[in-house]
Amino acid sequence: MANIRNRLFLIFGLVLVSVWALYPRTVIERVKRDGITVYDTVKRVPLKKGLDLQGGMHLTLEVDDSRQAVADVSDALDRSLKVIRQRIDEFGVAEPVVQKVGDDRIIVELPGIDDPERAQAVVSEAAFLQFQITDRTQALERVLPRLDAAAAAAGIGATGPAVGGDTARRVGVTALFGADSAAARADTLVAGTAASDSAADSAAIQTPQDGGLFSSNISLGQYPGQYIVRAEAYDNLVRALREPSVSAVIPPGKAIKWGAEPIDAGQGTTFYELYMLDARPIITGEYLIDARPMTDPTEGNLVQFTLNNEGGRRFRNETAKHLKENMAIVLDDRVMTAPTIQSAIGRNGQITLGGGTLQAAQDLALVLRAGALPVPLKITEVRNIGASLGQDSIDKGVTALAIAVALVIVIMIGYYRFAGVLAVAALALYVLYTLAVLAGFDAVITLPGLAGFVLSVGIAVDANVLIFERIREEIDAGKSMRLSIDEGFKQALSAIVDSGVTTILSGAVLYQYGSGPVRGFAVTLIAGIVASLFTALFVSRTFFMIWLQQTRGAKTLSI
């Protein structure tokens, strides 16, 4: 009976391996303690839980090509990957996943995130920092009529046609918050040219002007190059500036940028800042080597930064050339502040955040340190699950599993008696082996995966059922016990293998096409079938062989 001994040896060997694979072990991982992330040793069962079970955030990012065309998307994403990894490392997340999927997207998985909005910003912010001198040549004032014309031609206008009026209409930029300079030109209004949308309508009603979109809504700011825009006209102006025909009018070497935050002027009115800047940045964030958040009693929260030697030299030269001028600090195409240059600035500078919180300053410092994304990215998918909901799912899934196992045990033992007990023993090994395979392959257990596992407990006994039914038939045909059992296993084999293979194939398709949670389902399905084939064909067989040996060829089998 060396054969049986070898079989038992293999089965128990696999049990030992499985127990070892599932034994809680000490791992070093990053954990969050008192708000800071530290490396620590944790003891846990090495089964990886998906985000939907442990709570956390999944982000899918793609290149945002609405602002600029990107030639080599794949390469740009590779470079972005490094930056995002570094940012997340500094942000402090236990076991983050940052990987490129296909050629055109990055997925980021952040377990245990408690402030998803902040995490999204840290991951997806381009953090492209530029310093640009504000325009002092009244470039905007000079092209206003042409901007108006271009906007009108593009179908975006506060009012009136742009034909034939250029010389007659010397539209000046009105003083701050706009005195009504339109009454005198009321005659140039052409009846029937309806304003194209409501925002423009309300602007026209509040300050009845016939001037174009730009001239009627833009007022001078506090220093050259800064302008103030009414909130009502903001949407239209943003739209107009996106039109190629409008942006073509902007003088070469100049650029228009918006301020970062709307300004609350009190009494429920808000304004936006618009800047005309020298297009060439005197320096960019690539020279930055350090950035730290600070709180200043007078200026509020700010970020102090340090440039490297070369950056510092350039910065000093450039700022010395532009003394008493204003330098806009532009982050991701938005002007954060535009302080006046009092004296040449060397390696150190600061960015004030206006009303921003200290946390905003911390995050800005973080993304500046990690560097800018080489291309702008946008979020195409967010899934966020709270940790409590995940734990709830685990509890419920485990309950369902326990009940399913109990029901299957009752059915199998109730129907097959002694053979049913053997099947249940095989089922117990099935559960153990499946979990061990999942742990061994480092598979991620998701909620659908858990469901697939519960389901597989019901389906896994099918192989045993097929064999038992076959044995019963052979016994009915009057064959001896030993022969019946042999024949039963032999005859049931083809059906078991065929059905197993088709299920594995559909599981493989599911894995190939599915994402995240569904992939977890496919993995448990496949692992379950492999374990079920083994337990039914090998383990149950061994049990029967032992039974035959113990009873020395009994005449009856309780099956």
Binding site: E62, S66, S124, K378, I379, T380, E381, V382, N384, I385, G386, S388, L389, S393, K396, G397, T399, A400, A404, L407, I411, M412, G414, Y415, L447, P448, L450, A451, G452, V454, L455, S456, G458, I459, V461, D462, V465, L466, E469, R472, S494, A495, D498, V501, T502, T503, L505, S506, G507, V509, L510, Q512, Y513, G514, S515, P517, V518, F521, L525, I559
Partner: protein, 339 residues
């Protein structure tokens, strides 16, 4: 010792007309529903949009949630209670919302969250789950789901054609097609939300039903060799009867696991569990009443005379085939099936 269905000899195949009528009616009803009320209820994953699950400290006023969501500039959101009376979901699937999310999927969710926090206070309401999907991802997933169904069927066809005979393979795959239609009709008629998990359930149903068909066909193949004189019609009936005990047991344990999921695994998995439970019914039904008559029909059209001529007389072939066509009329019971 319990023995269910031992040595039975029911003439299952005889009732195929009634069965065909029932399944055709159900599918037709489903298709009509598709035609008149549009596609099924797709989840956020497929359409794009934003789904948020909210947990309140105390039962909130639904109208207040709605007005808050609307004040955040999100039109046409659907607000429903989810489980307990402190749990609600906000589902924004409006085309305008989806369009807005093309520029960045997170915007709408963040706006709703800010508005809710402002209205109810950060202590009172918390967002426990957010799903926000841009339109492009949704479109890709829809394509992928259809592709997965097709590839699964194709792979099954090839595998069955290799393992069995092409007639068995074709019958099995056509009955898989039937299973897909039946399950889709079920999903539509019972208004089950089609998520990725539900697609996974449909694929599992396909695999499970294919299993059942394979078990019967495997037995048929064996019986064709064993009882060479018997007609295919009788052999199929005999095979179904012989595998009946196995079918009852396996379906019972699978249904037990499925019901455990349905009642204890929580709301998120409910659509999956319902589809799976229906899938057990589909598997029983289609392997007995769809795959089997299909095989009879194919066998009748393309008899296996060349390879089996010396094994089975062609006269039996035709009698077997015609039995399928006139199954309703032929009351022939198989004496050999009753031991």
């Amino acid at each position: 010792m319990i023995r269910l269905f031992k040595g039975t000899s029911y003439d299952f195949v005889r009732h195929w007309r009634i069965a065909a009528g029932i399944t055709a009616a159900f599918i037709a009803l489903g298709l009509a529903s598709f035609a008149f009320t549009g596609g099924p209820n797709y989840s956020i994953e497929f359409t794009g949009g934003t789904l948020m699950q909210l947990k309140f400290k105390s039962p909130p006023d639904v109208a207040a949630i709605r007005s808050t969501v609307e004040s955040a500039g999100v039109a046409g959101a659907e607000i429903t209670q989810y489980g307990e009376d402190t749990d609600y979901t906000v589902r924004a699937q409006d085309p305008a919302v989806v369009e807005e999310q093309a520029a960045g999927a997170e915007g709408v969710a963040n706006r709703i969250q800010d508005a809710l926090t402002q209205r109810f206070g950060a202590d009172e309401v918390s967002v426990v789950r957010t799903e926000a999907v841009g339109p492009k991802v949704g479109a890709e997933l829809r394509r992928g789901a259809v592709l997965a169904l097709l590839i699964t069927s194709l792979i099954s066809l090839i595998y069955l054609a290799i393992r069995f005979d092409w007639r068995f393979g074709t019958a099995a795959v056509l009955s898989l097609g039937h299973d897909v239609l039946l399950t889709l009709a079920f999903i539509k008629l019972f208004d089950i939300e089609v998520s990725l998990t539900v697609v996974a359930a449909v694929l599992t149903v396909l695999g499970y039903s294919a299993n059942d068909t394979i078990i019967i066909f495997d037995r048929t193949r064996e019986n064709l060799r064993k009882f060479r004189k018997a007609s295919l019609y009788d052999t199929l009936n005999r095979s179904i009867n012989e595998t009946l005990g196995r079918s009852v047991l396996t379906h019972a344990t699978t249904l037990a696991a499925t019901l455990a999921l349905l009642f204890f695994a929580g709301q998120v998995l409910r659509p999956f569990s319902i589809v799976m439970a229906f899938g057990v019914v589909v598997a029983v039904f289609s392997s007995m009443y769809v795959a089997t008559p299909l095989l009879l029909y194919i066998e009748h059209k393309y008899p296996r005379d060349s390879e089996d001529k010396n094994q089975r007389r062609s006269a039996e072939q035709t009698s077997g085939g015609s039995a399928a066509k006139t199954a309703g009329a032929s009351k022939s019971r198989n004496p050999a099936a009753a031991r």
